[in-house]
């Protein structure tokens, strides 16, 4: 592989790579605002300027400049090299690029920083971006000087509503045009552009339109400064109090890699952010997915119920066990869930096949929705393929078949995971007993005789297999609320209450059992290219 030299580092590159791209791929950051690995090159922020040494035997391209002599205050003729933006500069074999090691680059970056901050309101204390703002980070790294301009700053519109989800502050904006390019190139809806020129520049929404496509929060997320802010996150949290786990979006079968940000002090989720994975979601997530984190706190069951009565978890498990003990295996059906992880489904499948001895396996899922040709998949369940793989040669039948069997009187008892359903489920009222293990309220919950509160994906670690067949791990963020427990744990407890020797104390116990089953996939630990909380791409 050809390579070039960046400061003292040898950076390999693929033909066609730009210097910044090749450096980014091996994890070396050249300071930048407007460049984004997933967007076209604009080269307008000038932060990534680098010095390139001339080829051997050739003179450097030098510019004549006047430089102020600090002792006399006089301007004296001097020379400096012509710097080039690393985002636009194609890498070439043996190239000698100087980034951190060049005093000229350091000077240029300081100057760029100073210019970008000339009219900035410096309202960091009330800015949501504070703590993960490039203006802040780069001020520390590359400028560090006080403001010299004494003139009144240019004032521009603040708190402009761009659409239902996004608010724009033109004074904080550095016109990097990442949002403009994102809307055009990724969301395929060129609803933003730049108006005016020079220091009157501001981002504008198309007349008669709102910023309302399916990727508005991503439009906000690509903003390297606090100009675009999300209504959902605005004034909710300071990012330095948040912690992140590497999760997988539960919104559809695409399985976008995400960071789930939460506050450990109040065990509350605050946002979902994309995590770079070029095989799945590249750098992006859709609005639906980025807001999906809110579901973890909504319509929850956090204690066990027997009928309408709230009971302790132990009483709930015992009630579930006695409900299942009274039935013959052929009258009992077990419903797996495309909403739950491989671990949860494996636990239920093991209980059903190996202990309860029923072969009546079904799967429930959320009804299908729209695909958008970008990221969103029509299958709104994160683990459909995972459940199918688990079941191997005897795939689970759809919920509709179960309802028919109940109508026909063949099934009298059901043990089900999750409360979602792809169809009307009135036939469930003919059941003698429905034992439901679910984190959320849903169509099935109304028919449950015994309900055990499961942990959400945010409260337990698990493996999800996306529509491409990629097994991905989603990590636990917060502790399960109140009596909620990971579903595999509840299933283990239920098995023990039924008198079976199931000893799953930890997730690793379940995974050890899964290791002997070729259909049961456990994802390798997730990768994280980006810093958990901080200036992400």
């Amino acid at each position: 592989m050809p390579s070039f030299k960046l400061d003292e580092l040898e950076i390999p590159f693929e033909p066609g790579d730009t210097v910044i791209q090749a450096a980014h791929r091996v994890g070396v950051d050249i300071p930048h605002y407007c460049w984004h690995p997933g967007l076209s090159v604009a080269a307008n922020c000038r932060m990534c300027l680098v010095e390139v040494a001339p080829p051997p035997g050739r003179p450097a391209m030098m510019l004549d400049v006047l430089r102020q002599d600090p002792t006399t205050g006089e301007y004296v003729p001097a020379k400096k090299p012509k710097l080039q933006p690393a985002c636009q500069l194609k890498a070439a074999e043996g190239m000698d690029v100087r980034s951190q090691s060049s005093p000229h680059v350091a000077e240029a970056r300081g100057a760029v920083q100073e210019m970008l901050l000339l009219n900035h309101p410096v309202d960091c204390p009330i800015c949501d971006q504070a703590g993960e703002c490039r203006l802040q980070d780069y001020w520390l790294e590359h400028q560090g000087t006080r403001k010299r301009m004494r003139d009144e700053v240019i004032h521009k519109p603040k708190a402009q509503v761009f659409g239902p989800t996004i608010v724009y502050d033109a004074e904080r904006c550095i016109i990097c045009t990442r949002c403009v390019r994102f809307c055009e190139e990724v969301a395929k809806d060129p609803v933003l552009d730049v108006r005016e020129r020079g220091n009157l520049n501001e981002i504008v929404v198309s007349p008669g339109r709102q910023l309302d496509h399916g990727y508005t929060l991503m439009t906000e997320f690509v903003c390297p400064v606090g100009a675009l802010t999300a209504v959902d996150f605005r004034f909710k949290a300071r990012v330095w109090f948040l912690r992140s786990v590497r999760s997988v979006c539960q919104g559809c079968a695409t399985g976008c890699n995400a960071f789930l940000d939460y506050d450990p002090r109040n065990q509350t989720l605050y946002r979902h952010r994309p995590r770079e994975n070029l095989q799945v979601n590249q750098y992006w997530m859709c609005d639906h997915g980025m807001l999906d984190y809110r579901r973890a706190h909504e319509d929850r069951f956090v204690s066990a119920y027997v009928g309408e009565e709230e009971v302790t978890l132990e009483a709930g498990v015992n009630a579930a066990a006695s409900a299942l003990r009274e039935v013959e295996p052929e009258r009992l059906a077990v419903v797996l869930s495309a909403q739950h992880s491989n671990e949860d489904n494996f636990a239920l499948l093991t209980l059903a096949r190996d202990y309860l001895g029923t072969g009546q396996l079904f799967i429930t899922n959320k009804p299908h929705g729209e695909a958008d040709g970008i990221l969103r998949h029509a299958d709104k369940n994160p683990n459909t393929l995972g459940v199918e793989q688990l079941c191997g040669t005897t795939p689970p039948r759809p919920l509709q078949d179960l309802l028919a069997a109940i109508e026909a009187g063949q099934i009298t008892h059901v043990l089900a995971l999750s409360s979602v359903a792809p169809c009307e489920v009135e036939a469930l009222q003919r059941l003698k007993r429905l034992v439901l293990i679910t984190p959320f309220d849903g169509p099935l919950a109304g028919y449950a005789d015994v309900l055990l509160p499961a942990a959400t994906w945010a409260e337990s670690t698990g493996t999800f297999v996306n529509f491409k067949g990629m097994a991905q791990e989603s990590e636990r963020a917060i502790r399960p609320e109140a009596d909620a427990r990971p579903a595999w744990k509840l299933i283990g407890a239920l098995g023990r209450a039924l008198g079976y020797a199931i000893d799953w104390q930890r997730l690793s116990d379940v995974r050890l059992a899964m290791a002997t089953d070729p259909g049961a996939v456990v994802a390798p630990p997730p990768s994280a290219r980006m810093a958990p909380v901080g200036a992400a791409e």
Binding site: R195, V204, V205, S206
Partner: protein
């Protein structure tokens, strides 16, 4: 009120589009043509019209219109007067000419007279330094100006039918 072109204008508009390799390249000439056809200003309806005809995002056309000062975003007077104030003209008395115009018309540079006849503006170099001081009225240059000549020009503009 929606903006539209008459048949003859339509033909000319199509002719403009045909001169450029792609429609985005025709944006500025198309806007100039429509501005002339719309009492010298680019109304939101004109922006919409150009965006639709050139298959460009409306925001892009708005960006072009706001970037260039020669597109009027508000309706100007019947005539537009630009007084050059760059070096050669400044040395030859453009300041007096501008001050005189402002006094005569009762508006500051950038304003439009109350009767809506004249919009007075300043301009940076209009490339007629050899005949300074000069000003541009609509699309014509008036060069080697004296205060008397300026008065004659303004009188004519104010009085003509």
């Amino acid at each position: 009120m929606a903006f539209s072109l008459n048949e003859a204008q339509e033909r000319e508009f199509e002719d403009i589009l045909a001169r450029y390799p792609n429609q985005m390249a025709a944006c500025i000439p198309a806007l100039h043509f429509c501005q002339d056809a719309n009492e010298n200003w680019v109304s939101p309806e004109v922006i919409q019209f150009v965006a639709e005809r050139l298959s460009l995002p409306t925001a892009h056309v708005l960006g072009v219109v706001t970037f260039y000062t020669l597109f009027n975003q508000e309706k100007p007077g019947k005539h537009q007067v630009w007084v050059c104030r760059t070096l050669s003209c400044a040395l030859r008395g453009s300041e007096e000419i501008l001050a005189h115009c402002e006094k005569r018309l009762g508006v500051h540079a950038g304003g439009t007279t109350q009767n809506g006849r004249i919009t007075l503006r300043t301009a940076e170099c209009l490339a007629s330094c050899g005949s300074a001081p000069m000003m541009q009225v609509d699309k014509d240059y008036y060069e080697n100006l004296t205060i008397e000549q300026v008065d004659q020009i303004l009188d004519r503009l104010m009085q003509e039918a």
